[in-house]
């Protein structure tokens, strides 16, 4: 069926790969000279002139092997497949001869400052494909150009008389020259002054064609080495007992029983300064048990006798923060930020025929990755080797650099495939811990957090309270919209100015902004000390649930088909400018909405035995809609059908896209159905996956029907989070049709059973 990577491809280590790249006969090295998207939180000064660095991605050896580097960490988003395919297509490589290498961090020393070899190196935040589209096509095009020049020299034929096909150059007389036979010559050809032209879309052979994951075979045979699977022979295993409060202190410690456990080598305290920031994140104090193996370390940890003293956060609870939010929204205080203010909401309100109000509540969430936080560190006198599941290797580098004082190129960061990220691995507290421990014991350290540590010491998504008001005029038009949101910003302690803290919570351009003449959105900051951080689908997830549920309520109040309400709101196909740049194309949004409606049989929505729900959203220039069909069987909610349509512009790998859309849909349903983090006295109350119950197979739909809108004239957008925002509101809207119960508080199952 699909062109898979053949078995037994050699997987060179990154170091070997780079050595090979650095020289050797018959090896063609190709780099790019280009700018690429910056990682926002990184200080510009640190980037130096790295945007103009020469990096290496492609290697063709004289045996015919084509190695292509994948620069962005793959957290399950498929970039290890899609990025190399972009290069391979421009190169006209035979995909069956391509091996993909996870590149790890590319950094060199530029007078003591780091130069990032590969430009963009961030995974799992939706930026990989757009960045690759900007620069990685040139990588392949340049390699292809060099090979064509080499063939032209050899044949004495102008390069434009030659063509390429699946790893060969074909002469006008039909003679074929493999890339392998040309690689050595090509590697000696001077780079052109101007980048060679990239392909026109009609020339694509791989882009737009389905491909399986390059790591699939390694994964199903258990050979895939995640960071958690790697080791240095003499490394000590470290497990931690963190202080329940990030600002707490250790009052008493007794390590006797721990040290008596066979295999336990040492017990160490990690005592960050109060509020110390490493890699932009607060680190809680901890006690580390270092042992020869994991089992001994875990036993040792269990036998620790620890007393922790709470800090100021020790009185905080999720309930008290929700009350704080309620008080803020009920009061008359000015918002922390007025995010958008179009027209005059108050004037529209005075002319209203009808006004509708609702309050939506959403819980705190944890990242709950499958692979827990872990990090393998080996420190030598003039070198640090770090193997780590990180979504942002450049930020991990900064943490290691700061703790070791090593030069930029003395720090090697390997990033194998990652067992889920969702934003958790944009923070590097666990890297800091591993480095500090390795320094203290003068031995390599393999740090392992348990899932309990992950859940209890996360950088959480804030709970939120959304107060929504809709103003409807005498012609049944939605003329005014007011959203007031109270939440705790994820950006605190992250060098973001106070007047931008709202950006993690609310989007100025979210629906129905730009569609309603009088539109106002305000953000109220919660005063909270519990750590927060970026999370996949933030801030779309919570806002889309509130807004798209509320539009369904508006439809119901007007006794209108919610699809019609949506279509009236979106209006004629047109492009509306967005305040953050880009446009909202109402035609594309309408299209995905109609597609899911048609597929699920929306015509019958009013008379359907089961409940039907619908929702749509737009995310960074991409469009998504869900239609969901549910029924209640006693206290069981059965999700019969889920349809999702997406318009992402050009599709790089349709098979990968389908997986991302189906996967994000199921994750969003799982979150909406079950998940909530609560805390009391500053302590998290969920410690494992029984307390934080990801949806079971039985709770989830049997299938997700994915519709991809062909839109190849537009550049590709990221898709890893696209399908998240609309799943929960479509579900809740369907539940309303099935039960007449409007769920305004998540998680849905708990609230539904309470209300039924």
């Amino acid at each position: 069926m699909n062109d898979h990577i053949p078995a037994d491809r050699i997987r060179l280590s990154r170091r070997r790969f780079l050595q090979v790249l650095a020289g050797g006969a018959g090896v063609l090295m190709v780099g790019i000279r280009t700018a690429s998207a910056a990682d926002a939180p990184l200080p510009l000064a640190m980037l130096g002139d790295t945007f103009y660095d020469l990096g290496a991605y492609v290697r063709i050896d004289s045996d015919g092997n084509v190695l292509i580097g994948a620069r962005d960490p793959d957290t399950g988003t498929g970039v290890a497949t899609s990025l190399p395919r972009i290069i391979a297509d421009e190169l006209d490589a035979d995909w069956n001869t391509v091996s993909v290498v996870a590149l790890g961090l590319g950094v060199s020393d530029n007078n003591g400052q780091p130069r990032w070899t590969y430009g963009h190196q961030v995974g799992g935040v939706g930026g990989s494909i757009p960045a690759a589209w900007n620069d990685l096509r040139q990588v392949g095009a340049l390699a292809r150009w060099l090979l064509l020049q080499a063939a032209a020299h050899r044949l004495g034929v102008p390069a434009d008389k030659l063509r390429c096909d699946a790893g060969t150059v074909i002469a006008p007389d039909g003679r074929r020259f493999s890339y392998a036979s040309l690689a050595e010559d090509a590697s000696k050809i001077a780079l052109p002054n101007n980048p060679p032209a990239v392909k026109t879309p009609d020339q694509y052979r791989l882009i737009g064609k389905p491909a399986g994951d390059v790591d699939a075979r390694a994964i199903v045979t258990g050979q895939m080495q995640y960071a958690i699977d790697q080791h240095y022979g003499e490394a000590l295993v470290a497990v931690l007992a963190h202080c329940p409060w990030p600002d707490g202190t250790l009052a008493h410690i007794d390590t006797n029983d721990t040290l008596a456990v066979k295999g336990v080598v040492k017990v160490l305290q990690l005592k960050p300064e109060p509020g110390q920031l490493l890699g932009n994140t607060v680190i809680a104090p901890a006690v580390a048990v270092l042992a020869e193996d994991t089992w001994s370390a875990l036993q040792g940890r269990q036998k620790l006798k620890l007393e922790w003293k709470p800090g100021a956060s020790g009185s905080e609870s999720s309930n008290s923060l929700e009350q704080q939010a309620g008080a803020l929204l009920a009061g008359k205080t000015d918002p922390t930020a007025r995010v958008r203010n179009d027209g005059d909401v108050d004037a529209a309100s005075r002319k209203a025929a009808r006004r509708l109000d609702a309050i939506y509540y959403q819980p705190w969430l944890a990242h709950a990755t499958a692979e827990p936080m872990n990090c393998l560190v080996r420190l030598d006198k003039d070198h640090a080797s770090v193997v780590v599941p990180t979504q942002a290797p450049q930020k991990a580098w900064a943490v290691v650099q700061r703790l070791t004082g090593l030069g930029p190129a003395q720090i090697e960061i390997s990033v194998p495939r990652i067992g889920g990220g969702y934003g958790r691995r944009l923070d590097h507290d666990y890297v800091a811990e591993a480095v500090m421990l390795a320094k203290a014991v003068d031995k390599p350290v393999r740090l392992l957090w348990t899932h309990g540590e992950d859940l209890d010491h996360d950088y959480y998504r804030s709970g939120s309270v959304h107060q929504l008001s809709a103003i409807i005029d005498h012609k049944r038009q939605l003329t005014g919209w007011n959203q007031r949101l109270a939440s705790a910003s994820a950006l605190i302690h992250r060098g973001v100015p106070d007047n931008r803290l709202w950006t993690s919570e609310l989007q100025a351009d979210q629906l129905p902004a730009a569609l309603v003449p009088n539109y106002r959105s305000d953000w109220y900051a919660l005063n909270a000390s519990i750590p927060r951080g970026p999370m996949r689908g933030m801030p779309q997830l919570s806002n889309a649930f509130a807004v798209e549920s509320f539009i369904d309520e508006i439809a119901h109040s007007m006794k209108e088909d919610p699809l019609d309400t949506h279509l009236r709101l979106l209006g004629a196909p047109r492009q509306l400018s967005l305040s953050a740049g880009g446009v909202l194309d109402t035609g594309r949004l309408t299209n995905v909405l109609k597609l899911v409606a048609d597929r699920i049989g929306w015509k019958n929505w009013l008379h359907s035995v089961n409940g039907l729900g619908i929702a749509c959203w737009h995310v960074d220039g991409a469009y998504v809609a869900h239609a969901i069909e549910v029924a209640m069987q006693g206290e069981k909610l059965i999700i019969h059908r889920v349809v999702c349509a997406v318009d992402v512009g050009r599709v790089i790998n349709p098979q990968g896209l389908e997986g991302q859309v189906a996967g994000a849909t199921l994750d969003a349903l799982s979150i909406a159905l079950n998940l909530a983090i609560t805390f009391k006295d500053g302590q998290i109350q969920q410690h494992n996956f029984k307390d934080y119950p990801l949806a079971s197979m039985a709770q989830l739909p049997n299938a997700v029907e994915v519709i991809v809108v062909p839109n190849d004239d537009l550049p590709p957008t990221g898709a890893s989070l696209l399908a998240m925002p609309t799943a929960a509101p479509a579900l809740a809207n369907a539940v309303f049709r099935a039960t007449a119960v409007r769920v305004r508080r998540l998680p849905l199952m708990k609230e539904l059973l309470r209300l039924l």
Binding site: M1, H4, A7, D8, G76, G212, D213, D215, A216, R217, I219, V220, T221, G222, Q223, M224, Q225, Y226, I228, D229, H231, V237, K262, D293, T294, W295, L298, T369, A370, E371, P372, R417, G419, G420, Y422, L448, T450, H451, G452, E658, G659, A662, G663, T665, L666, D667, S670, N688, F689, K690, L694, A695, S696, M697, A698, L700, P701, N702, A703, V704
Partner: protein, 178 residues
């Protein structure tokens, strides 16, 4: 030059090299190979596999194996490796994800079906799903949706619908076919 004569060293009780006696331990079979565990009998199989044998396909899945990523076949039945102290495993036969493929590298139909149906997210929990699927298909070669619903595994990447397709593909005898 005359060749150097090998010099015989007289063996005394001080310098005799005597092979150590076989250590006592727990004998078991893993992926059709025999092993003897000589460490702590209470060590869970998970850490024996991962730390001692470096068979890392079986993943840490929570202290009680909540996500199912640490499932292995114990005498053919799927169990959580973290819940199996080595002491209980004498004479038992364990199959891990590394043992599913044939010796010649050809994949088990379930492995092939997971590739065919793209039933992979980040891939971390995939070994556990594979073991659970093999166990299910052994008990019920043609499982219903309700049977598949009973799988204990969790997945945050949302591969469940594709896992379902993969299991049905195996049941239909179509693994490896387009």
């Amino acid at each position: 030059m005359a060749p150097v004569q090998a010099q015989a060293v007289p063996v005394t009780s001080e310098n005799a090299i005597v092979p150590e006696k076989a250590r006592d331990g727990i004998d078991l079979e893993i992926n059709a190979e025999r092993y003897r565990h000589t460490g702590d009998p209470q060590m869970p199989l998970l850490w024996y596999l991962r730390d001692v044998l470096r068979l890392t396909g079986t993943k840490y899945a929570g202290m009680r194996g909540e996500t199912g990523a640490d499932l292995v076949l114990l005498n053919g039945k799927a169990v959580s490796a973290v819940a199996q102290p080595m002491a209980k495993l004498a004479g038992k036969s364990v199959t891990t994800v590394e043992g599913l493929a044939a010796n010649d590298g050809s994949l088990h139909p379930v492995q092939q079906a997971f590739i065919d149906e793209d039933a992979i997210g980040c891939g971390y929990c995939t070994p556990g799903w594979l073991i659970a699927a093999v166990d299910l298909l052994r008990r019920k070669p043609n499982p219903s949706d309700d049977d598949i619903d009973q799988l204990p595994n969790l997945c945050r990447c949302g591969c469940q619908t594709r896992v379902r397709r993969a299991i049905k593909r195996v049941a239909a005898g179509k693994a490896g076919q387009a």
